[in-house]
Symmetry: C2
Subunit: 213 residues, 2 copies
């Protein structure tokens, strides 16, 4: 049984999520909170498997709450729920340690799947958000993740990184200083919300940014 805590300031959303999730026999909502501070306290006492977290909330927002929660030992998987795809907070949430993303207009099945996926995965989850984040490189405006999108230079570096090159090799390949490559790689890791270049490579494959022949 997967235990879930819901965090959202709107009662409508809370009960909607609860109804959707509890229609699955393997998921149970063990608690709800209406702001980040309450969420943190609740998670600490209830120790759920998964937290569905709204981003925009009064007082302590979803980003700060996520940061607090993932700092617990053996923290639950936090899935951030956003209203708009171009939410500027997405990037921050990635860095804060969120394990997944979902739009509020997602289908009921999407919510159930998301909970199951992050619960199973000790292994990393690279949500659809990263897919567009990586693939929609430098795409002109139009409403998508403006802050987190990779620049063309970063995309170039990621491509080389994902072909197994070291920073020094990448530098030589595109005639740059190693320091510059290090900077780009650091920015890529931050934007993808991953820890190291290994996870960046995985994200590149999982998102289709590079493909296995």
């Amino acid at each position: 049984m997967i235990t879930v805590v819901l965090v959202d300031d709107e009662p409508l959303v809370r009960s909607g999520l609860r109804a959707i999730l509890e229609s699955s026999s393997d998921i149970t909502v063990v608690g709800v909170a209406d702001d980040g501070a309450a969420a943190h306290a609740l998670v600490r006492s209830l120790r759920p498997d998964v937290v569905l977290m709204d981003v925009r909330m009064p007082r302590v927002d979803g980003i700060a709450a996520t940061r607090l929660i993932v700092e617990l030992d053996r923290p639950p998987a936090v899935v951030v729920v956003t209203t708009f795809e171009n939410d500027d907070y997405v990037y921050d949430a990635l860095r804060a340690g969120a394990r997944g993303f979902l739009l509020k207009r997602a289908s009921a099945q999407d919510f159930v799947n998301a909970v199951r996926t992050v619960h199973e995965g000790d292994s990393l989850l690279f949500p659809g958000a990263i897919r567009s984040l990586v693939t929609a490189v430098g795409a002109p405006g139009g409403g998508g993740l403006a802050d987190a999108r990779l620049t063309s230079r970063e995309a170039e570096v990621l491509r080389l990184l994902a072909s197994g090159l070291s920073n020094a090799e990448i530098a030589e390949e595109i005639h740059l200083g190693v320091e510059t490559v290090r900077t780009h790689v650091g920015n890529i890791l931050a934007k993808l919300g991953v820890r190291d270049r290994v996870q960046a490579v995985i994200a590149a494959y999982e998102s289709g940014f590079v493909s296995s022949r």
Copy 2:
């Protein structure tokens, strides 16, 4: 135009390869050698793009020659040509720095493709040899790469590695000491003929050992 040097002790093989390769307008054979020492000297003076290297040769064998050649600065891509799939030298050749593998019974088109592929790829090439090496984990005898096949434990570690875990995390995941994981990872890198865990992840994807959903 891709320049190629052929190294094989049998005149028959040399002229066969030459005929096959030169039927392609973008490939030209600039030199041939009949043993490893001659190959090294020839490569140093001719600076070809690609070297097709037999493994079994009198005096200096293909492994030693490959090692010498890849130590040059801006070395050519060395493709090792073996007679048998279960050649014990395959593992050593990987370590020596070979960029590709080919069986002598491969098709004419295979040889042409191999030359083009390693020539284009500054990026790594994970030849079919690695595919079977990784995927045929622990398969019972039957004539394939006995020395280099991953053990079941190594396969388990590779799977976790390819999901983005650090050595410490892998250790915790399967209840081992970090030192043990380090040993396994080291053996995996050696068997796959790759330099670091990043390239191991790439090999895992390219070989189909793990797949992007």
